[in-house]
């Protein structure tokens, strides 16, 4: 297992490098650069030239990329400079459109907020989806099942794009129960990402979490129901009942654990979808998370910020997929990784 994890991590390094280079080259080949505009005015040519030189945008593409990876080592070629700066050191460079801020600072400020939103949404989808799916499966072909199934299809079909503005309109503007937008928690966070669970945080978090998490809980509910229905018909469930176990123990200990295996497989794509979802939801609710920076930095052509944020997302997905695969093996002893 340990060797498997190490190999997976080693294998993902060239993939991440390839992705970084693709983004790097793609962004630089798009017409328009980071210094075309300052606010509404365009900058004088001499200023643009100087800025381009400062950020080494006048160098050949390969040199810029090597500089991005290893920092000033590309100039000095002194082995003592190797790994002093650049990506190898975890340095994502200076942001181009937010003067004086490094990409690392921006990520450190915004990532915890996106993480809070994402974790809340995943928690909601698991805590709501699994019980709902279980109840629907246990009451198969009753009105409870039909209602839950129908609600789940409905939930899957309403995009966050629609859910967000609708929730804002109903609960914030019409009923005035909850705040319309922004995020209630501010750094510093406990352990870097756990906010103080005060009223400001909770009241601001409810609508974005619902907007993001509803579709996922519906998806998990459908999957849990389908998978549990299949497992319940297995022989070992009959055996468990036959030896006189209480129904509750049969369901929870024998059926549910096995029925969660397909649910875990969907968690990988789900995390990817949560990332996409945070773009939408952060945009709609004006939440200062990483998704907002990503969308903005593309419009601004802020090369270093785009690269940094893309890389963080990619690393996150790689880690998430690895965790999913490990959980998968833990739930299903028939699966072994070499």
């Amino acid at each position: 297992m340990g060797r498997y994890i190490v190999r997976r991590i080693l294998v993902s390094i060239p993939v991440l490098l390839a992705l970084t280079f693709t983004v790097f080259a793609l962004m630089r080949s798009i017409p328009g650069g980071p210094f075309d505009f300052a606010g509404d005015k365009s900058l004088p040519a001499s200023v643009v030239q100087n800025l381009a030189r400062k950020y080494h945008l006048d160098e050949p593409l390969w040199k810029q990329f090597v500089r991005y990876l290893v920092g000033d080592f590309v100039d000095t070629l002194d082995i003592r400079d190797f790994g002093k700066g650049g990506l190898l050191r975890g340095d994502l460079g200076m942001a181009m459109r937010q003067r004086g801020r490094t990409v690392n600072e921006i990520v450190a400020d915004s990532f915890p907020i996106s993480a809070q939103l994402g974790i809340l949404a995943v928690a909601l989808s698991v805590l709501l989806g699994i019980p709902l799916g279980t109840i629907a499966a246990l009451k198969q072909n009753t009105w409870i099942d039909y209602t839950a199934t129908f609600a789940a299809v409905l939930g899957v079909s309403i995009p966050a794009l629609v859910m967000g503005p609708f929730l804002q309109w109903l609960f914030a503007l019409k009923l005035e129960w909850l705040p319309v937008a922004t995020w209630g928690a501010k750094p510093p966070f406990l352990l870097g990402f756990i906010p103080k669970p005060d009223l400001a945080f909770i009241s601001h978090a409810i609508l974005p979490t619902l907007a993001l998490g509803t579709a996922f809980s519906a998806q998990i509910a459908r999957l849990t129901r389908a998978s549990l229905l299949q497992v319940i018909r297995e022989d070992y469930i009959r055996t468990a009942r036959a030896k006189g176990l209480r129904e509750r123990a049969v369901i929870i200990r024998h059926a549910l654990k096995n029925s969660l295996i397909p649910v875990v497989t969907i968690l990988g794509p789900l995390f990817a979808a949560v990332v996409t979802g945070t773009f939408v939801v952060e945009h709609i609710f004006g939440i200062p998370g990483m998704g907002k920076h990503f969308v903005q930095s593309i419009g601004n052509r802020d090369y270093s910020l785009i690269q940094g944020v893309t890389l963080i997302y990619a690393v996150l997905l790689v880690i998430m997929n690895l965790i999913v695969d490990i959980t998968y093996a833990w739930l299903d002893p028939r699966i072994t990784y070499k």
């Binding site: 993939v15 992705l19 328009g32 198969q140 794009l161 503005p165 309109w169 389908a226 998978s227 997929n321």
Partner: protein, 320 residues
């Protein structure tokens, strides 16, 4: 539901002379939700094709005096910030959603099936390598790549005149409201699931006797693929693709929402939701028509996809 159906299947003998497709089609007709969804989608396609006839106004014509006009006889669903008729714009917006569904799904089907077929048929080392590649791509944040590609294509199209094939491509792109490239990109990046399914099907099929028999009598590789393998895996692949279509439609709406989608004034439901969202505080009626249209369409494709899956493989009823 299941009980009733089981008894029916027991009582009425299945007519064996029907083929797999006809069988699936009749089973689909028995699923009322899927039929309703299918009818909705057919109507939507007709709406998209006949938008010029159905819409009372042109999608771009502004009536500045009537900005934010409420629902009424002049504008059935009201007017937006520039006094454009919302009903007409929703009708024209169907074009973009249908186009993304068709283009992205076709591209994804072709690439995925080809890849999966080759991988599964070759087997062994080649198969292992090709599936490793799929695993790599699976781990990437494809949505980000799609967004970046879209920025790239948009800038390319804005630069205007280009000769030869690129020029033709740009003109096609403009005809699609600036979205053609990104539709292709969506499909071209979303074939992973399709490839896996096609491969799995081929792996289980190629050991079957009828393939072996075909090989024995000297059928060529293309004949085995097109005559024997493809017809048998196509059902599962189409089901899978239908289930992916809601994702394409939502992704297009999202791109348009954040301003990376269609070029204004071409209406897309995503861009209209963005406009409605801006006016939410005072004029919520701008938001609801495109929001409902988008949700209904996604719902319809979900119901149809579920129905198709049950029809092709009744054992999977309720799965996913």
């Amino acid at each position: 539901m299941a009980v009733a159906e089981v008894t029916r299947e027991l009582v009425v003998p299945v007519r064996r002379e029907r083929g797999l497709w006809a069988d699936a089609f009749y089973r689909l007709l028995g699923n009322r939700l899927a039929v309703a969804a299918g009818i909705y989608i057919i109507l939507l396609v007709l709406t998209a094709v006949l938008a010029d006839v159905i819409a009372p106004y042109d999608f771009g014509v502004t009536h500045l005096k009537d900005n934010y006009a409420p629902m009424g006889t002049k504008y059935w669903l009201g007017a937006d910030d520039l006094g454009r008729d919302i009903f007409s714009r929703v009708v024209y917006g169907a074009r973009v959603s249908i186009a993304v569904a068709i283009v992205a799904a076709t591209v994804s089907l072709i690439i995925g099936i080809t890849y999966g077929l080759i991988s599964g048929y070759l087997g062994g080392r080649a198969d292992e390598f090709m599936m490793r590649v799929v695993d790599f791509i699976y781990g990437l944040p494809l949505i980000i790549v799609v967004i970046l590609l879209q920025v790239y294509f948009k800038a390319l199209a804005r630069r205007g005149e280009a000769a030869g094939l690129v020029g033709v491509a740009i003109r096609v792109d403009v005809a699609f409201g600036g979205l053609f490239f990104v539709f292709v990109a969506m499909g071209a990046l979303n074939w992973i699931g399709m490839a896996r399914i096609a491969r799995g099907q081929v792996l289980s099929l190629k050991e079957k006797e009828f393939i072996e028999a075909a090989r024995m009598v000297g059928a060529s590789f293309p004949r085995i693929v097109f005559r024997h393998l493809l017809p048998n895996i196509l059902g599962a692949c189409i089901v899978q693709e239908t289930l992916q279509i809601p994702g394409y439609i939502m992704l297009e709406a999202f791109l348009s929402f954040i301003g990376l989608g269609v070029n204004p004034p071409t209406p897309s439901w995503g861009i209209m939701i963005q406009e409605g969202y801006q006016a939410l505080r005072s004029y919520p009626h701008v938001l609801f028509p495109p929001a409902i249209a988008l949700s209904l369409t996604v719902l319809a494709f979900n119901f149809l996809g579920d129905g198709l899956r049950d029809a092709f493989d009744p054992r999977l009823r309720g799965a996913r």
